[in-house]
């Protein structure tokens, strides 16, 4: 145990003191200059949650506008800015930051290390990412530069050329978008390098690669994938800026450039990117589901192999986002096959999770509820993914609300659900206090109901021919009531998230004390005090199996007897 109790406690002056200005500044300064992986992890997650609220508000605005045909809640320009900023924010400033925040906080703790491999690079990466976020939001104020008028990017998060050319997107909003993603991208690359180095070289004694917790494995694979996927995005953004300011013609179709080349660059980034987001979420589920089922994960080696397999295959499927751009029939068939192949390792993962639950003693605490929601939703999301990979059907479904439904099933139904699960699970470790279970249940059920009302229904407006990215629609298309239902569900989710935010704040002050190991879990982070001291472990831990704390708690029946 760490030195929480000072030997001279009685002699301390404990009269409550007003915080002086200097103390506040010092506290703030401490957070700004910190290189501690845990503090940076917290910064990432808090930053991500703030942007989650921002992008959530944008989503609410979008749904009010679409609740009924012919609404005038948002102007067409503003609507287009809203969906562009919503998508960009959710992917780059919410998903990436929260998940990398989890990795920052947990990877060293889980492998028995005292920090990341490169603590300063870690701080640099966070502040780059943070600056990228501020840069893109600054375009609301400075998007038109000299005119002093605000405007945000309005070309979609996929930003297809040549709509991004200066001829079609004057002003500076598109420049902010491109620059911000370059800057945030460098931050992401730094963190990815850091995680790889940490997982490969900082593991404590006894922790071979095949004894690493699955969360760490998934972060390792994700980071490797990140290195490969962010690079083409950065290259494409630089080419775009060259087109816009230096007279380049990469994507300038009026001068012989190619719009299709942009699409290839974007989706060579974009598809692996969705796996960069989902694999850490898998990692969270891999930690939580066993603990609350009271069983070891089923088929650990297969889980590792499936993750690596998914990463490999996912680099060869990008053009399934491009079935309608007029590839050859052979080209289309190739990407149908490669995309369907992803379904195999994905299926293996789902089977293994079911098998983990099978025969367990399931405890329905809030983290587990969110993970169970994830299992159902990810199953459906994978199946709609298979539907979309059927190229002829994709010619109908592409760019319709069906696609929106599919990827929100993954991004919200799987990733956000697991992020919530992870926050309920590790919040006690980070703050020393439990989140309220009552508010947690309210949060879970409202969010689940709202989620299904919204995103189940979206599949059907998609079938009825409603395209995405439209600020309004004709009243005679049969989409009115369905859109109204979708909007209601959106509001319910909004309320649920506010409950969650309130839970985070109030539990910080009034939550039940957690102790080291409130969930009776098995990985190394639960052997430290909550919150862990700056140095994590007073002595370097030594492990003998994948579940070191299980071995400690069950000396008569330790894991290392069984693991291959």
């Amino acid at each position: 145990m760490a030195d929480q109790t000072l030997p001279i406690a009685g002699s301390l002056d404990v009269t409550p003191q007003r915080l002086s200005r200097a103390q506040v500044l010092e506290w703030l300064h401490g957070w700004v200059v910190t290189v501690d992986h845990k503090r940076l992890g917290i910064l990432y997650v808090v930053y991500g949650i703030i942007f989650l609220l921002v992008a959530g508000a944008e989503a609410m605005a979008i749904r009010i506008q679409l609740a009924w045909p012919g609404m005038h809640f948002l102007s067409p320009e503003l609507y287009n800015e809203m969906f562009t900023m919503h998508g960009t924010t959710m992917v780059f400033l919410v998903g990436m930051t929260i998940l990398f925040g989890f990795a920052n906080y947990l990877v060293p703790l889980m492998i028995g290390a005292r920090d990341m491999a490169f603590p300063r690079l870690n701080a640099f990466s966070f502040w780059m990412t943070a600056f990228g976020g501020l840069l893109i939001y600054y375009s609301f104020i400075g998007g038109f530069g000299l005119y002093g008028m605000g405007a945000a990017p309005d070309v979609g998060w996929w930003a297809y050329a040549p709509l991004t050319a200066r001829a079609f997107s004057p002003g500076h909003a598109t420049d902010y978008w491109a620059l911000a993603l370059i800057v945030a991208g460098f931050g992401t690359l730094g963190t990815a390098i850091n995680i790889i180095a940490t997982a490969l070289s900082m593991r404590c004694r006894g922790m071979s690669l095949l004894r690493m917790p699955l969360f760490v494995w998934l972060m390792l694979v994700t980071s490797a994938l990140t290195l490969i996927t962010i690079t083409p995005l950065t290259a494409a953004q630089i080419m775009l800026l060259i087109d816009r300011y230096l007279g380049g013609h990469f994507f300038d179709t009026q001068a012989g450039g190619s719009a299709v080349v942009w699409m290839h660059f974007f989706w060579i980034f974009g598809h692996p990117e969705v796996y960069v987001l989902v694999m850490p979420a898998f990692g969270i589920a891999n930690e939580i589901i066993p603990v609350f089922s009271r069983k070891a994960i089923f088929g650990y080696p297969a889980m590792v192999a499936a993750s690596v397999g998914i990463a490999f295959v996912s680099m060869g499927v990008w053009a399934h986002h491009m079935f309608t751009v007029g590839m050859t029939s052979v080209g289309n068939a190739f990407f149908v096959l490669s995309t369907m192949l992803v379904g195999i390792p994905t299926g293996i993962k789902i089977f293994n999770w079911v098998a983990t639950i099978w025969g367990g003693k399931i405890r329905f605490a809030t983290p587990m509820l969110f993970c169970l929601g994830f299992l159902f939703q990810f199953l459906i999301a994978g199946l709609t993914g298979i539907m979309l990979s059927v190229a002829p059907w994709n010619w109908q479904l592409h760019n319709s609300y069906f696609v929106i439904a599919h990827f929100h099933y993954v991004l919200v139904g799987a990733i956000v659900f697991n992020i919530f699960a992870g926050i309920y699970y590790w919040y006690p470790k980070v703050t020393g206090r439990m989140l309220s279970e009552t508010l947690g249940k309210w949060h879970f059920w409202l969010f689940l109901i709202g989620f299904h009302i919204t995103f189940d229904t979206m599949h059907f407006v998609g079938f009825l021919g409603m395209p995405r990215s439209i600020y309004t629609y004709e009243p005679d298309r049969g989409w009115n009531h369905l859109n109204f239902i979708i909007s209601i569900g959106g509001m319910i989710q909004g309320i649920a998230v506010l409950i969650f935010a309130w839970n985070l704040v109030q539990s910080y002050f009034r939550g039940r004390k957690a102790g080291n190991d409130p969930w009776d879990a098995w990985t190394l982070e639960w052997s430290t005090p909550s919150p862990p001291p700056a140095y994590n472990f007073a002595t370097d831990p030594v492990v003998h199996s994948r579940r070191p704390l299980w071995d400690l708690k069950h000396p008569e029946d330790p894991d290392w007897k069984y693991e291959a």
Partner: protein, 349 residues
């Protein structure tokens, strides 16, 4: 024990119930039976072979959902912790090679079947040979409207496509050659075919063979700028006779009616001529829709408004009224001038 059981049941049944309720919703809630451009109401070969394929895929994925989802739901219910449990941990199982092998092979087989079926339809639709009798239409996407050219018939029109009906006995498919004048667009009329993008510098092709006459609606399906939402599409499938009449009429030059000479004069002396063509007059612009037979169309501004006298007036006075951000400027004309203009335009049958 009670409590845990009830909770588990709620937990399992809720998503399933939601799903069932929502599956039924469209039937109950979709307003108006025929108006929806549903992908499940096909009226042309590409759309119906896609529909057949989609039923097949839905059956397979539905089967997977019921099997895996059912197992999952049952496992959650069956293996819930109970109050009566002692504190012991359940038996720890680390894996099983046989089981894992089995559930790797089954998905592989499913993928093989799905892939082969899909590939067959891809080739059938995409590589279908073009018959001699096919009608050729060149579609040009513009920021927020559609241009239709019939190169062999010498017709240029906008936003409302006319094609002849096709039947097994007398096939008369229409082959669309897709171009773009500015940014990416996508041609999507769900009941006739899947969508295909219109990309500058990258010509595409697609075909339809509508089997029933009538009006089919759709719209641009690739975000193309501020008024992407109002880039609507109307395809009229005509009987062969109707189609021939339409062709004959479209090939006439613009109507000459001396009673509206004043309006025509305004049109020819204002900037209208820079952007619009009216065959037989000095107006030869191509930036905006061809107006030679404006009155043969039911809507204006790519479906943003019905083609009525009032709407034309409002449109010319301020295009932003219907379509804020449309690429036609408000010309600051007086009310009388616009009246004269509209009087002229409404003679363009």
């Amino acid at each position: 024990m009670r409590e845990h059981g009830a909770r588990a049941i709620r937990l399992v049944s809720l998503p399933l119930l939601c799903f069932a309720a929502v599956s039924a919703a469209p039937i109950a809630w979709a307003d108006g039976p025929q108006s929806s451009p549903s992908i499940f109401a096909p009226a042309s070969t590409p759309a119906s072979s896609i529909q057949d394929l989609s039923w097949f895929v839905l059956a397979i994925t539905g089967g997977i959902f019921v099997t895996v989802g059912g197992l999952l739901a049952w496992a959650i219910f069956r293996y819930r912790a109970r109050k009566t449990d002692d504190d012991s941990e359940p038996a720890q199982i680390y894996g099983s090679t046989q089981v894992e092998l089995a559930w790797t092979v089954i998905p592989i087989l499913i993928v093989v079947v799905l892939f082969l079926t899909t590939a067959r339809i891809i080739f059938a639709i995409q590589d279908a040979p073009k018959p001699q009798v096919a009608l050729d239409v060149t579609v040009v996407g513009h920021q927020f409207w559609w241009e239709f050219r019939y190169p062999k018939l010498g017709i240029v029109t906008a936003n409302e496509l006319h094609v002849p009906v096709s039947s097994a006995l007398e096939p008369r498919p229409t082959f669309l050659h897709l171009l773009s004048a500015d940014v990416d667009h996508s041609f999507w009329v769900p009941q006739l075919a899947g969508k295909t993008d219109l990309i500058p510098n990258h010509p595409n092709d697609m075909w339809i063979d509508p089997r029933h006459t009538g009006l089919y609606v759709g719209q641009c399906a690739q975000f193309c700028g501020v008024e992407h939402a109002k880039m609507l599409l109307r395809v009229y499938v005509d009987t062969p006779e109707e189609f021939d009449t339409w062709v004959k009429q479209q090939r006439q030059p613009g109507m000459q009616d001396s009673s509206v000479a004043a309006g025509r004069h305004i049109f020819e002396t204002e900037a209208c001529t820079n952007c619009h063509t009216i065959a037989g007059t000095a107006a030869t612009g191509t930036f905006g829709p061809n107006l030679t037979h404006l009155e043969s169309r039911a809507t204006i501004a790519a479906g943003a408004a019905l083609n009525t006298t009032e709407n034309l007036h409002a449109w010319i006075q301020d295009p932003d009224h219907f379509k804020p951000g449309a690429l036609m400027p408000a010309m600051q004309l007086s009310g009388e001038q616009i009246d004269e203009l509209v009087a002229y335009l409404t003679t363009l049958h």
